[in-house]
């Protein structure tokens, strides 16, 4: 870290220390992933309690919750898959996307507009698109399915006329309404740091949603006369969420450093690079030091993390432990083995135990 960077870092810290008094940032809709949401069947009519029970929703999100109660379970699920994927992608990093508590979920690290924050926003937005589109396909949502576009007016049965089923589109639109609601309802003065952060969040949410949308590939089926291709039907197919995670991880590596411009828009810190598109991630603050535990930044530190002695990458003990060294100890690892696998579910296996070496950061 060179001098100018560290100076800016300190500045950021002081700025954050000033702004950290605001409690509004503490809660997030991510908390839906942590607390089990009761299915809407439980509340039959006047299901007010569900939405007021849920903590972490902003005002606009609460309104959406009241309108689309059955969606909330899937938003929670989407957030959960997002967080899981984040943890998978960052399992070998100093910051490993670990959740801290049930209300703020990731703790105070998210108050810094860093690369990691950008990734977290993107992947959770992507998780929501994925989960809503999926729920749509499972027929779990009452409002999902029929696109109202491209059909003559006054036709009562749009199902008959055009069919329904563009669920990726629905998932994308709903996720945009819900996830961005939080940012859109804030009214910070143009050009302020909070405004910059709002713009950053919107950019990253959109990048996450677009990732799902863009990675969905088109599948087609021919079904004409004698199976010829005179009639062909195509549809969008969602990619495996692991691929979305990888795609966003690449975007994380190439994320653009931004700052708020004079006209109240984000602009590049370094003009030599191309400006980010809607699919790119953007961040406004440098990342905090994730090596040591720091209450004010919310960094958990890498003490106690498992590391790989032989690796020279980020998961290697040298980098992971930030040069503090590591402890070595032996543990028993229990595994199911000699199974006769089936395509799913319960199979009879043996239990094998082996002794393995493990390394833990000091």
């Amino acid at each position: 870290m060179d001098a100018s960077q560290s100076l800016r870092f300190i500045l950021t810290i002081t700025l954050l220390a000033c702004s950290s008094q605001r409690p509004a940032h503490a809660n997030s809709w991510w908390s839906l992933a942590m607390n089990p949401i009761q299915r809407p069947e439980m509340y039959i009519i006047g299901a007010q309690p569900l939405c007021s029970q849920l903590t972490g929703l902003s005002q606009g999100q609460r309104k959406l919750c009241q309108l689309y109660q059955d969606h909330m379970v899937y938003i929670g699920e989407g957030a959960k898959t997002g967080i899981k994927e984040c943890q998978y992608q960052f399992r070998q990093r100093r910051w490993n996307c670990s959740t801290v508590d049930n209300t703020s979920v990731f703790g105070r690290v998210m108050q810094i507009g860093s690369r990691e924050t950008a990734f977290t926003y993107a992947i959770s937005a992507a998780g929501v698109v994925n989960a809503i589109s999926r729920a749509c396909r499972e027929g779990e949502l009452s409002t999902c399915g029929c696109s109202r576009a491209a059909r003559p007016r006054d036709l009562p049965r749009d199902w008959l006329w055009g069919g329904c089923g563009d669920n990726v589109n629905y998932g994308y639109r709903f996720a945009r309404e819900f996830v961005d609601a939080r940012e859109r309802e804030k009214n910070y003065p143009r050009g302020s740091t909070e405004h910059a952060r709002t713009l950053m969040n919107l950019q990253n949410n959109e990048a996450g949603r677009m990732a799902v949308y863009n990675l969905a590939n088109v599948a087609c089926k021919c079904h004409g006369v004698s199976g010829s291709c005179s009639l062909k039907t195509c549809w969008l197919q969602l990619a495996d969420f692991r691929r979305v995670g990888e795609f966003l991880k690449e975007k994380y590596d190439s994320a653009a450093a931004m700052r708020i411009g004079r006209r109240g828009k984000l602009e590049l810190v370094n003009n030599r690079f191309n400006p980010p598109t809607a699919e790119d991630l953007a961040y406004i603050d440098p990342s905090p030091d994730y090596c040591l535990r720091n209450e004010s930044t919310g960094s958990l530190g890498t003490q106690g993390r498992l590391c790989n002695k032989t690796s020279e990458g980020m998961d290697g003990c040298e980098l992971m432990c930030c040069g503090r060294g590591y402890d070595q100890f032996k543990t028993y690892k229990h595994e199911r083995c000699h199974c006769k696998f089936h395509w799913c579910c319960y199979v009879k296996c043996k239990r094998c135990t082996s002794l393995v070496d493990q390394f833990v950061c000091k």
């Binding site: 499972e138 199902w159 006329w161 329904c164 549809w235 696998f341 089936h342 579910c345």
Partner: protein, 542 residues
């Protein structure tokens, strides 16, 4: 002597006819592009994982509903099933077609269901080479949302799994999905009921080696494809309009021929047969599919199309042959057996193939000829033979067209030396041939271009506020085009009773009759105009 109407028509009138036809053509494209929705819709379904608690699951005749008041015991994923010690044989994948609060309708015409597995890569449970999935699948229907399910079909089917894993097979990539090809599951020729329910099991048996080595299945996805009701309505309307149009011109054409003093020649008969096959396609029997459960409608449609294509191809060959101008007596169908043979044989192969696929699907909607190795080979054999026949046919056709053009250029040089009637006769022949050649090439090019466009793009084009459904435009436009082609053919190539150059008409009939007999081509015989003819011709032109 008389030729076809097209030779005797003034250029002005011909242009007027052409413009009217073009207007109709543009209209038929617009009907599809602007009014109709896209021809088909694909709808995704994610199978719900139900738990069948009955031990011997083959005994239970219960239907599992994915949602609604009597929905089954569900598991969200198979980790939950493992935790509850549920085995693979007790899992039933349930899919309700359509989505909640929707109903299917006979206007959807057909329904195709495609099966897709989400299979996760696991180091110790990989997909084996040549893995085959055995699915035990049942289909039931009901017509009111609370009634009992009635079984429609039940079958144990095998499908080959062709999946590949693009990333290295390491422990790090565990949990990623394989990329698997789509598998056809079911095809219904008629969507007569409102609600359908599919229950799919993947029975496992270690000693019978059933469903072994198929990897770790995470989900089953189905894609249901059906025709859009709106498109069906537009299509039916178009057929209902076209049937009488072609029928009337056909009757007019045949009356004109029978009123001549000579028997009809081969080409006239072939044009008439083309009209009949077009009418056969046009007749909107599909209206009945709205009221009756006629599952054979798809097969019937295929047969009708096949007959028309065979007829059209035969017509081109015979038309070329009759315009060869090589002084050989043809005018018999048997002369053309060499060229028509491949058409008949190729169509027959495709018919057998279609019967093997769609014919069997009448009794078992889950049947697919591609599922078994023998079936695949058989199907490929039929298709390859049909392909060879098509190549053979086009070689013959190209050769014949080449011959005609060679003869034309040969005749061109000797034209000025001929007597007037003979010259006019040949000029008429050349004009007729070139005109049809041009129109046919234009139609074929349009078909090919639109086919490529519809293959390349998916869905629709936005044009300002309008959305143009390219695929629908393709269907209505091309269908309209071939109808207009047949219509124009019957109208323009009907025998004319106008004589060449009315002013000298009185003399040439007798003077040139000796020459005429030598000109053994299409419309050789002399027939004098009658008052009836004149009136009819006027009527037709007005």
């Amino acid at each position: 002597m008389a030729g076809a109407i097209i030779e005797n028509m003034s250029t002005k009138k011909l242009v007027i006819v052409g413009v009217i036809l073009l207007l109709f053509q543009a209209f038929s494209f617009m009907v599809g592009g602007l009014i109709a929705p896209s021809p088909t819709t694909a709808i995704h379904y994610m199978a719900t994982k139900c738990v069948d608690n009955v031990k011997s699951h083959y005994m239970s005749k219960k239907w599992f509903m994915p949602w609604g008041p009597n929905h089954c015991d569900k598991v969200r994923d198979f980790d939950e099933a493992t935790a509850k010690k549920i085995e693979a044989n007790n899992i039933v994948f349930a899919v309700h077609i359509p989505m909640p609060n929707k109903e299917m309708s006979p206007w959807f015409q057909f329904m195709l269901v495609i099966l897709q597995f989400d299979i996760a890569f696991k180091m110790y449970n990989q997909i084996e080479d040549g893995a085959v999935v055995t699915v035990d699948v049942g289909l039931a229907y009901r017509d009111d949302s609370l009634g009992e399910w009635t079984e429609m079909a039940h079958s144990i089917e095998q499908r080959k799994l062709s999946c590949n894993f693009t990333t290295p097979k390491t422990i790090d990539n565990e949990g990623r999905y394989y990329e698997c090809d789509l598998m056809p599951l079911m095809e219904l020729g008629c969507v007569f009921h409102k609600y359908y329910l599919l229950n799919i099991r993947l029975p496992v048996s270690d000693h019978k080696k059933v469903n072994r080595g198929i990897g770790e299945i995470k989900d089953i996805r189905l894609v249901g494809i059906h025709q859009n009701g709106g498109f069906t309505k537009v299509w039916f309307a178009m057929k209902t309009f076209l049937t009488p149009s072609i029928l009337i011109i056909m009757i007019w054409y045949w009356r004109r021929i029978t009123m001549m003093s000579r028997p009809p020649v081969l080409l006239e008969k072939v044009i008439f047969a083309l009209g009949i096959s077009m009418t056969f396609i046009n007749i909107p029997v599909e209206w009945f599919s709205v009221g009756f459960e006629w599952t054979w409608m798809l097969l019937f449609g295929d047969i009708r199309q096949g007959i028309f294509y065979a007829m059209l191809l035969s017509f081109w060959i015979i038309f070329c042959g009759e315009h060869l101008m090589d002084q050989m007596e043809r005018n018999r169908f048997s002369v053309y057996w060499k060229q028509v043979g491949p058409i008949v044989f190729g169509s027959f192969c495709l018919f057998i193939f279609d019967m093997c696929e769609r014919g069997v699907q009448l009794t078992n909607p889950f049947y697919s000829i591609w599922a078994s190795d023998v079936g695949t080979e058989l199907a490929m054999a039929f298709i390859i033979v049909a392909g060879i026949c098509a190549c053979l046919y086009f070689l013959f056709l190209c050769f014949m067209v080449f011959q005609v053009f060679r003869n034309i250029s040969g005749k061109r040089t000797s034209l000025p030396a001929m007597t007037k009637a003979r010259r006019l006769h040949y000029e008429g022949l050349i004009f007729r041939f070139k005109f049809l050649m041009l129109v046919t090439l234009a139609c074929a090019a349009m078909t090919v271009i639109f086919f490529i466009i519809s293959q390349v793009n998916e869905g629709h084009w936005h044009w300002g506020d309008y959305t143009v459904q390219v695929n629908s435009a393709f269907f209505t436009g091309i269908y309209g085009m071939w109808n207009l082609y047949v219509f124009a053919l019957m109208f323009l190539y009907a025998p004319s009773h106008k004589r060449y150059g009315d002013e000298q008409s009185s003399g040439d009939q007798v003077g040139n009759s000796g020459e005429d007999i030598q000109l053994t081509t299409t419309i050789t015989h002399v027939d004098g105009p009658t008052e009836v003819y004149k009136m009819m011709r006027k009527e037709a032109q007005e």
